[in-house]
């Protein structure tokens, strides 16, 4: 059970849950957490193949992904604070300043 297929299945399911969360939810916090879940699934995939090939390059790529996730967390959460202060809402449909006016 704990073979390559099992780990790959878990990481693909985590990635899919994150992708479904990004497209189906409207709460901007949940969208951010879904992105984190997708990054987690990718990390698990990289580490699984690092063990499979007995080569640590996959783990190093996973560290890079974690560093990018940390940078993304800082930027994303400060943007969320700004958006919430100006619009008083967490709904992504409220943030339409760049949208074309429909007549």
């Amino acid at each position: 059970m704990s073979s390559l297929t099992g780990y790959a299945a878990v990481s693909m399911i985590l990635f899919s849950l994150g992708a479904i969360g990004v497209v189906s939810r409207r709460n901007i916090f949940v969208i951010y957490m879904s992105i984190e879940l997708m990054l987690n699934g990718i990390n698990l995939f990289l580490v699984t193949f690092a063990r499979y090939h007995f080569n640590m390059d996959g783990q190093i790529m996973s560290i890079m992904v974690i560093a990018i996730a940390a940078a993304e967390a800082a930027i994303f959460l400060s943007v969320i604070i700004l958006l919430f202060k100006t619009k008083k809402s967490l709904d992504t449909n409220m943030f339409t300043q760049l949208k074309e006016e429909v007549k």
Binding site: T5, A71, A74, T92
Partner: protein
């Protein structure tokens, strides 16, 4: 024994993800994500990536989840601030239907790979901090430095974005 641990950890990882996907309240979503992240850390340990296990717990469960929970409580979100999501269940069902073929394709590819030993090992310090550090500073030095620049830029950007506030008249107009 390893199989039981693997099954339990993957169950908790997926259950945390599903909780995050379906729950309305962001605090419960954050707790579901926390469970998922911790279970993925356990899976890293099963894959004998001990340093990654540590990094996952310190950076994800320690730093990022703390920031998320802190911001959630800092913003003082009430029920009327939450968006109404009347079509959430339909969209989730559609998303599941669309993601199944991608998953099947990748699983088809993965099952054709030859079987290899995936047991916990410590040969040549695999996954340990010494071997990983040697690799990181010898073969991956340039990406490592670029990542450090990226983190610096993100730090400056976050400070600039979060510090912006309306100027008061007369004072603090420096």
């Amino acid at each position: 024994m390893i199989d039981v641990v693997f099954l339990a950890l993957s169950f908790f990882a997926i259950a945390g993800g599903v909780t995050m996907l379906l729950h309305k309240d962001p605090i419960y979503c954050a707790l579901g994500l926390l469970i998922s992240v911790l279970s993925v850390a356990g899976l890293f340990a099963l894959l004998s990536a001990t340093f990654m296990f540590m990094v996952q717990i310190i950076v994800y469960a320690g730093a990022i989840m703390t920031i998320i929970l802190f911001i959630l409580m800092f913003l003082n979100i009430r029920a009327e601030d939450l968006p109404k999501e009347p079509r959430k269940n339909i969209l989730v069902t559609l998303g599941v239907i669309f993601m199944i073929p991608v998953n099947l394709l990748i699983m088809e590819g993965v099952t054709r790979l030859p079987d290899a030993d995936m047991s916990i090992t410590n040969k040549d310090g695999f996954g340990g901090i010494h071997a990983l550090g040697m690799k990181l500073y010898q073969e991956w030095l340039l990406p490592f430095e670029l990542i450090s620049i990226l983190l610096l830029v993100a730090l400056v950007g976050a400070v600039v974005l979060a510090k912006r506030r309306e100027k008061k008249k007369g004072i603090n107009n420096v």
